[in-house]
């Protein structure tokens, strides 16, 4: 059997992507396509008192204007469900406004130009109520949720952290702030809907095809077998395309009314309000340690935004429960209820911002102890999960730190801030650990032999840039012992076997393990001389006891070198290295790309990203790519990622752990720690812009 799984094979969908042939949701070609444009609310909290769409309706080419006054009946929204992304998502269903930018009208026209113009001509009056928009307001409404978004307890307590803090030789008690952030994947949310008789087909930019399938069917009160969702190519998701939004529902409703296909695409500006974002957080970290650096206490408490329109509890403190040993422990996750748009999962919800705080606090402790921050981490390496008291499935954080230190040249770092000046640049190095929960979800896969040397794989899984198409082809090719070119991978269609989709870094392992099962079953039958042509097999996987008996995480260590301009405080990343334990790597090339991408997201969270709130109006202010800063080419120097050779037998039959979110976890803290090392600026409010660095430069 040829060795294919893990090989650095070029993406099998690469040709389609470099030639423009890959069809994304807004690229669908269909006859008589009409174009929809959404109009959005200009107040944050209150209700519509009147809508005058007469001028919009008069515009040449306008086919319909849909508002809450004439929108078809839809299923009502529900606050809780087993699959929150499958809940009904009714649009224009009431005069109530719950957040700024909420869709209030849809215009459909013969052309995009006419629809856009007409949407801008709709006159709406509102009754605006006083909403709550400031996460730091003195009278803010704080909630103590029982569980976080993944159903784990929102708080935990072991021992007595207060006594530990009082009696410790050295302590850290710091508060960190992280801002609102937005996914801003390159492809705006888009849907093209078409009815053929009573059958609805929606091509939509979604990460979870089955959830979208259920959501659209339920919302429109149509049987699921009359709805087909297609998402063959998705231009990035990062959690922002877990839910279905107004584009899909409104396109489907309008297409039914008009009896012709309708395309609705959110504008880049609308994406900031209409879709989810990462909520802002305020995090307090307390560390108690002996003089030799042994942690005696660790506490991580967070408050983060949730929306009155829909609750979301980001598991910000979750990584702190498993990263370091300490006898006295406390974690708590509170929310502040605001009338802002709805927060949701954004790449590594929890770890991404939790580690910005925790891993900077560990660095602060290292400075206070005058101890190398890598040694400090090694000293507090737990032998088992410190809160669950169960073994880790695999844990190679120590190897990540040690190998990274050697490759990066950590021994050249001076512990003293400001010691390394190169021309106008103060140069420093920082380190941080990465940890990310490893998840397996129930999945099914089908594989069919087309000939002795070719097969077709079918799953409703998506490839949001992660490399799903390619790794599935590799699994099928290796197990069925056929050429890679002989494998056709069909994804992103609601008629294919149900998978959990793309999210939470569980896609590759869950779907890959289901496919592995299918291929092994098929191979066994082929070996008995059945088939081959037309022979097919279904495979399945679901999480078993291994996820209760073992604490499962992926790990990593980030090393960053930054330069800080001695006069202006400008921070430039100079080089970066990440060393990761993500279990078995399914494609060395695509996994490396995901890790590097994640690391750059971490850098971005440390230095750039900040979705500013206007607390007077409850709106986000910098709602485009000129003002919401994400990294560009010039911001990204040499960034390298290395994966350790690991096989996690407890994770799944492939031995793989999640890759997609691991890179961002801790990466930003490595940058903030490098800034401290470069110039002595300890900035606890992200992003670390030059105005926050300048005071330390004197």
């Amino acid at each position: 059997m040829a060795h294919v799984i893990g090989e650095p094979i070029d993406r099998i969908d690469g040709h389609a992507k470099v030639t423009g042939k890959a069809v994304y949701a807004a690229d669908a070609k269909t006859q008589k396509l009409a174009f929809g444009a959404i109009a959005t609310a200009t107040i944050a909290y209150g209700e519509i008192t009147s809508i005058d769409a007469s001028e919009a309706r008069r515009q040449p080419g306008v086919l319909m204007v849909m508002t809450h006054e004439n929108a078809p009946e839809q299923a009502p929204w529900v606050p809780k469900a087993e699959d929150p992304f499958a809940r009904p998502k009714p649009q224009l269903d009431s005069k109530k406004i719950q957040y700024f930018g909420q869709p209030v009208a849809l215009v459909v026209a013969e052309t995009f130009e006419a629809a856009r113009e007409a949407a801008a001509l709709i006159q709406i009056t509102y009754l605006a109520n006083k909403g709550a928009f400031d996460i730091e307001a003195p009278d803010r409404e704080i909630k103590d949720p029982k569980t976080d978004v993944v159903g784990k307890p929102a708080a935990s307590k072991i021992g007595d952290i207060d006594t530990a803090m009082r009696t410790a030789a050295v302590t850290v008690d710091s508060t960190y702030k992280t801002p609102y952030q937005n996914h801003n994947m390159m492809e705006p949310h888009a849907s093209t809907a078409e009815w053929t008789g009573n059958m609805l087909t929606v091509r939509s930019a979604v990460q979870l095809v089955e959830s979208a399938h259920q959501c659209i069917a339920t919302t429109l009160k149509v049987p699921p077998d009359q709805v087909e969702v297609i998402a063959e190519f998705i231009g990035g998701g990062f959690g922002g395309k877990l839910p279905v939004y107004g584009d899909a529902i409104l396109a489907a409703l309008a297409a039914r009314e008009l009896k012709r296909p309708v395309k609705v695409v959110l504008t880049r500006q609308q994406m900031f309000h209409v879709t989810t974002h990462r909520g802002a957080s305020i995090q307090r970290v307390r560390l108690a340690a002996t003089q030799d650096g042994t942690l005696t206490g660790i506490a991580h408490e967070s408050v983060a935004q949730t929306a009155r329109a829909d609750d979301f509890v980001e598991p910000i403190v979750a990584p702190t429960r498993s990263l370091y040993a300490a006898p006295n422990r406390l974690t708590a996750q509170q929310t502040v209820v605001l009338d802002l748009p709805i927060p949701g999962s954004m790449r590594a919800p929890g770890e991404a911002i939790g580690l910005l705080a925790l891993e900077q606090a560990i660095d602060e402790l290292a400075v206070k102890l005058d101890k190398d921050p890598i040694e400090l981490r090694l000293k507090n390496e737990p032998k088992e999960d410190p809160e669950k008291h169960i073994p880790f499935s695999t844990r190679n954080l120590v190897a990540c730190l040690q190998q990274g230190a050697e490759r990066f040249g950590w021994n050249k770092r001076s512990a003293k801030p400001g010691a390394n000046k190169q021309g106008q640049w103060l140069v420093g190095m920082g380190v941080a650990a990465a940890i990310r929960g490893n998840i397996l979800r129930k999945a099914e896969a089908k594989v069919t032999m087309n000939s002795a040397t070719s097969a077709t794989v079918e799953m409703d899984m998506t490839d949001i840039g992660t490399g799903s198409y390619t790794i599935f082809a590799q699994i099928a090719a290796e197990i069925l012992d056929i050429p890679l070119e002989g494998v056709t991978v069909k994804l992103g269609h609601s008629s294919y076997p149900i998978t959990p989709g793309s999210g939470g870094s569980f896609g590759a392992s869950s779907c890959g393990a289901a496919l592995l099962d299918a291929c092994k079953k098929l191979k066994a039958r082929l070996d008995k001389h059945e088939g081959p042509q037309g022979l097919s097999a279904m495979g399945r996987v679901e999480p078993g006891d291994e996820y209760k008996k073992f604490a499962q995480f992926a790990y990593g260590a980030h090393f960053a070198e930054v330069g800080v301009d001695a006069d202006t405080g400008e921070v430039r990343l100079r080089r970066m290295l990440g060393v990761f334990d993500a279990g078995r790597i399914l494609n060395a090339k695509t996994a490396r790309s995901q890790m590097i991408g994640g690391m750059i997201w971490g850098v971005s969270s440390a230095l750039f990203e900040n979705q500013e709130v206007d607390t007077r109006y409850g709106s986000f202010v910098n709602v485009d790519l000129a003002n919401y800063h994400v990294p560009v080419h010039a911001d990204v120097p040499a960034v390298e990622a290395i994966a350790l050779k690991v096989f996690d037998e407890h994770a799944n039959a492939l031995g793989s752990k999640g890759v997609g979110e691991l890179g961002i976890c801790g990466a930003g803290a490595a940058v903030s720690n490098a800034i401290y090392n470069a110039c002595g600026a300890r900035v606890r409010e992200y992003p670390i812009t030059l105005d926050k660095v300048l005071p330390a430069l004197g």
Binding site: T19, I124, V632, H633
Partner: protein
């Protein structure tokens, strides 16, 4: 009890903005619907895209990007922001890269436009396309057509000696260093952050490294 205020706003442009514009004696947006001019009728536009001339009847507000995507079926060029901020819609116009969302189709008559669909020769990929595949210079692929067109245009700029802001000496020919490539490609955002691989692909392709 919440403080209730009756607000009347237009969807685009608040009253405050409108009065600020009026105060500057610019062309203030009329507040009254009846004063709006009628919508324009279609105009004939000939577009030369990928070596073919297309006769189109377009709403004059149609951008080059929307003309290609919605009227020519050339959906390889992507709309990421529609404001010239992301570069996903980059095409080559007379060999020079351009954000096609910022250009009206009607203003491109007589120009030679090349899109991502026009780079390969049959099944043979353009060296830049091949280099992108080899270097895994993309993940989701949505910015990729713009990155590739931009890269092809940028290499041509280097060859023609067009200076950039990182050049130490504007008079001498740019070097095509990694720093030059990063600076010149910074109008093309990749949120997947495939940047190191994109730069590697561009350098490999421009050096003629076999892919």
């Amino acid at each position: 009890m919440p403080d209730k205020t009756l607000l009347t706003r237009r969807l685009l442009g608040t009253t405050a903005l409108a009065s600020a514009v009026a105060a500057k004696h610019l062309h203030a947006q009329p507040q009254v619907a009846a004063t709006r001019p009628p919508a324009p009728g279609n105009i004939d536009v000939d577009l030369d895209v990928n070596g073919h001339t297309h006769k189109l009847s377009l709403d004059p507000r149609t951008t080059l990007l929307d003309a290609m995507r919605d009227h020519l079926g050339l959906t390889g060029t992507k709309k990421g922001c529609d404001h010239g901020q992301c570069g996903a819609c980059t095409v080559l116009v007379n060999g020079v890269r351009l954000n096609s969302c910022l250009s009206l189709a009607a203003s491109r008559e007589g120009d030679k436009i090349v899109t991502i669909e026009g780079l390969a020769e049959g099944d043979k990929l353009h060296p830049m396309q091949a280099a992108f595949v080899k270097a895994d210079a993309f993940q989701c692929g949505f910015c990729t057509p713009g990155q590739i067109c931009s890269a092809v245009g940028m290499v041509s700029e280097l060859q023609r000696g067009v200076p950039s802001s990182v050049a130490l000496d504007f008079a001498s020919k740019p070097t095509g260093s990694v720093e030059e490539v990063r600076e010149r490609m910074s109008g093309n955002i990749c949120r997947c952050a495939a940047y190191p691989n994109i730069v590697a692909a561009i350098i490999a392709a421009s050096e003629g490294t076999p892919t």
